[in-house]
């Protein structure tokens, strides 16, 4: 019996620490500046526990029943704390207020626990042993929780479900206490009903936890969020509205299923159809497999090598049924080799040759990505293109980022390539630009594969005409040691935002 009581101490101590860790982690995830968040949250929490301990002296009757109600309250508030905070972040302006109110409330409740329990147990132990045992198990519980939290809970369960799990433990301790202290309780059944209700609510919460964090995302995106995943490199979000599925990487729109065919047909066919009998194709970036889908429309293709940094992304697009339907299962085709690697070092360490290369990287929003748009990169890339081959580069919008676009053209020219800039209108993006580059002179292809929805042999040539508001402007070449492109890009898009 005494040992079983001490197990309760162990469990409630663990619960108490978990709620504190969850609040601190969530605040640093959502607000950043982890040192500040953790310090202030731990401070407020410890202070609130002190307040709770002080208040415990005003409880002087029916200690056991009060303790059981207290456990139920801790379980409810603590268990839902993480979900509440997610929702507060997504739907209200008052995240800070909710955060600190919750921390203080949980802190007060947790502060009440141990003093109350000690008073309940004081009949059964010597005072000396009581203090020693209770505090030992209290600290052991804290140790257990602090190890469990980073190793198991955060990676396996996530924050919302971890909180609920420990809420259930609190409620479990309450229910169990109705049996342990049966002799000291009068209306036991009422208490047990209360316990059952709280447990049911928390269990229901577990079912909803995923929906809750999705709901938080939903509020950030206009459409219904159908999938989210945080990978090592990015946050992948898929949304759906009627039959329109959109992919966002770090909140940047990558495609809309309604018009992506325009983008991907334009990316691939003007160049690839101009390499008769092309056998080996390289795709850099483009882990969604949509460019590969277009490439596989040529019967001469023997191999497609897709190099994309993010293995989660390529796995998702090779396994998720809806996405597989969208890319026609291209990533699981036997001719396609998926390589998860950083493109520049990968090119630098092999000597493979390709008849056609598709470069579909994210826009040059920072100096790291900017390296993939430099003379250094294109010089290396050109060495991997066969003599009659072409390479094509996704080059941001010649309309919204005009100087950036023409900077990419200039950069390709600087490494001795002949460039053929073209553009296409994609409703979800606006005007979008590409540059075809190679060592030969380019003629638009006379024939395209069958079944295209946007391009035909008669309209390819039109893509190469630029209306007045998108024609060439002066720009310097982008070099590794002087990345002008990142500066152009920032300036171009800032001008749009104003």
């Amino acid at each position: 019996m005494p040992f079983l009581l001490l197990v309760s101490v162990f469990l409630i101590a663990a619960c108490g620490l978990i709620y504190e860790l969850i609040a601190g982690t969530l605040a640093s995830y959502l607000l950043g500046d982890s040192v500040f968040q953790f310090s202030t949250i731990i401070g407020s929490y410890l202070f609130a526990m002190g307040v709770g301990s002080f208040l415990s002296k005003y409880i002087d009757r029916a200690l056991v029943a009060r303790f059981i109600y207290l456990e139920l309250m801790v379980g409810l508030v603590g268990g839902f704390s993480s979900s509440l905070l997610f929702l507060a972040f997504a739907y209200t302006e008052a995240f800070h207020l909710v955060l600190y109110l919750l921390v203080i409330l949980v802190g007060i409740l947790v502060g009440l626990e141990i003093p109350l329990l000690m008073r309940i147990l004081k009949e059964r132990f010597e005072f000396r042993d009581l203090v020693a045992h209770v505090l030992t198990f209290d600290y052991l519980g804290a140790l257990g929780a602090s190890l469990l939290f980073p190793i198991l809970l955060v990676p396996k369960l996530g924050l919302a479900r971890s909180a609920l799990l420990f809420g259930i433990i609190n409620a479990g301790v309450a229910l169990w206490s109705t049996f342990l202290f049966a002799d000291q309780l009068r209306r036991r059944v009422n208490l047990q009903i209360a316990c059952a209700l709280v447990l049911a609510a928390l269990l229901g919460g577990v079912g909803l936890a995923d929906r809750i964090s999705d709901a938080a995302d939903n509020n950030l995106y206009a459409d219904e969020v159908i999938f989210t995943r945080n990978t090592r490199y990015q946050r992948i979000v898929l949304t759906r509205w009627k039959d329109d599925v959109r992919l966002f990487l770090n909140s940047h729109l990558q495609f809309s299923s309604r018009d992506e065919y325009r983008y991907h047909e334009a990316l691939v066919h003007p160049g690839l159809a101009a390499v008769p009998g092309a056998r080996h194709v390289l795709v850099l970036g483009g882990g969604d497999g949509l460019a590969v889908r277009e490439i596989l429309k040529y019967p001469s293709i023997e191999s497609v090598t897709l190099v994309d940094l993010d293995s989660e992304m390529t796995r998702l697009f090779s396994t998720q049924p809806f996405l597989k339907r969208l890319n026609h299962g291209s990533l699981t085709d036997s001719r396609v080799h998926v390589i998860n690697a950083d493109a520049f070092p990968w090119l630098d360490t092999n000597a493979k040759m390709f008849d056609f290369v598709v470069v579909d990287f994210p826009d040059p929003t920072n100096y790291s990505l900017g390296k993939l748009y430099t003379t250094g990169f294109y010089r290396l890339l050109a060495r991997h293109v066969s003599r009659n081959g072409w390479l094509v580069v996704q080059s941001t919008s010649p309309m919204f980022a005009r100087q950036s676009y023409w900077c990419i053209v200039e950069t390709l020219k600087r490494v001795g390539l002949r460039t053929y800039p073209y553009h296409v209108y994609v409703p979800s993006f606006g005007e979008w630009g590409f540059v075809l580059a190679g060592t030969n002179s380019y003629e638009p292809p006379a024939a395209l594969p069958g079944g295209l929805r946007f391009l035909s042999a008669s309209n390819v040539a039109e893509l190469f005409h630029f209306p007045n508001d998108m024609t060439a402007v002066a720009a310097e070449a982008n070099r590794l040691n002087d990345q002008v492109l990142v500066r152009y890009y920032e300036r171009d898009w800032r001008a749009i935002a104003h």
Partner: protein, 497 residues
Amino acid sequence: MNRRLFLSAGLIGLSSKADRRIEGGFVFEDQKTGHLLRDRKKTLPRPAREVRVPVVIVGGGIAGLSAAWELDRRGFRDFVLLEMNPRAGGNSRWGENTISRYPWAAHYLPVPDHGATLVRELCQELGLLKDGAWDERHLCFSPQERLFQYGQWYEGLEPTGAPGAHEQYRRFEEAMSGFRVSGEFTIPMERGGKPSELDRISMAEWLRRNRFDAPGLAWYVNYACRDDYGATAAETSAWAGIHYFASRAPDDKGPLTWPEGNGWILERLLAKLGRYVRTNALVYRIRKDGPRMRVTTPEAEYSAEVVIYAAPTFTAPYVMENAPRVDDFEYSPWLTANLVLDRWPSERGFEPAWDNVILRSPGLGYVVANHQSLATRSDAWVWTYYTSFAEGAPAQNRRWLIEHDWTYWRNAVLDDLARAHPDIRQCVRRVDIFRIGHAMIRPKVGFIWSQQRQAVAGGKGNLVFANSDLSGLSIFEEAQYRGVTAARRALRRISRG
């Protein structure tokens, strides 16, 4: 580096709790070998072997290796290079871990302009310069520099200042272009330099006389002196201070740099010249022996026609009889540290650059060794942290440096970095520290055009000095120039017989 500033940083450091375990230690500890020279009589063994060879080079830093480079490319192969350490390289040594290579001291070479012919010849030989164009893979990637001020990072190194400061920067830049076209501030310095009144005043005094008083500019110039000479602007000769700003007209945006810093050049020199190099060969005695010279190491005694002395010049009196006077040669101590990070610390403002400097910190900032990587992503980094002990007497600072243990210096480094990265202690896994007692010659007021420096540098006979300290400017280009010049003198001497 200044004691009081460091202690104040310690207080900031105290506030961060829950530190993780950080490993590391001191590296090299050259002073232990060096001090054998001071106490040589008792400890060093007498060599068992005697070797006759026309030329002996003492010291395997860039200067010694450049002497070897010149002898070798002139077709002269009959020489040895003696280096006391297990690895040659001196201040251009480097290290490596699973994340990256990294420098231990010298980490870049400014893009040499057309006047620096020897450096350009070497660059051509190494494939850095082809048909008049620099290979951009070896030039520092964007962004090159950033400065931490007002609680966040800004692009570039010049502090943004009060109104009017801008005008002073412009005027300063103009004054420096004026010095540049004068042709007196060249690399190598011997090419255009001549005795000058500017060597008689300090850089701080020159700023004062020319009414440059914007605090940001004063900080910037003082930083440059601490960074390049390990001395404050108040002690640095104005000639040397100006030389830094006025000596280069590069034809591309630089500098040249590699993860392992100038270790990249070192390794290529060693690949070619390694067969002449004898490591673990501490030269503890050099004396005349009739027309020849005797050079003693614990393992062998060499009898040579000419000795090229490319070890730091101040060591001459410990090694040779009748050494020239070298008491004007004063050196600044430095500390460098390589930090391994497995998380990028939280920070605000401009993106991480190659060189990252914290305004008004006692250190000189840090260089990200794996900045020069082709990858767009990385999940671990090596930072090389630098600080020179510019304030106070060098000897006292050297004692301070040696007296304290690794934990003390590790804390000093982390406390300094915490000014810009409060959670640095949660991101760092390892800190290795290099204490360099006599790291850099100090071009203090009067030294550059002193009789003593010119006498040692221009010395004749069969003992030729060659260390970069002969220029009073501690840079790769001067080390190379001194080494090559010494080699040419040695060859002339030998052909005379």
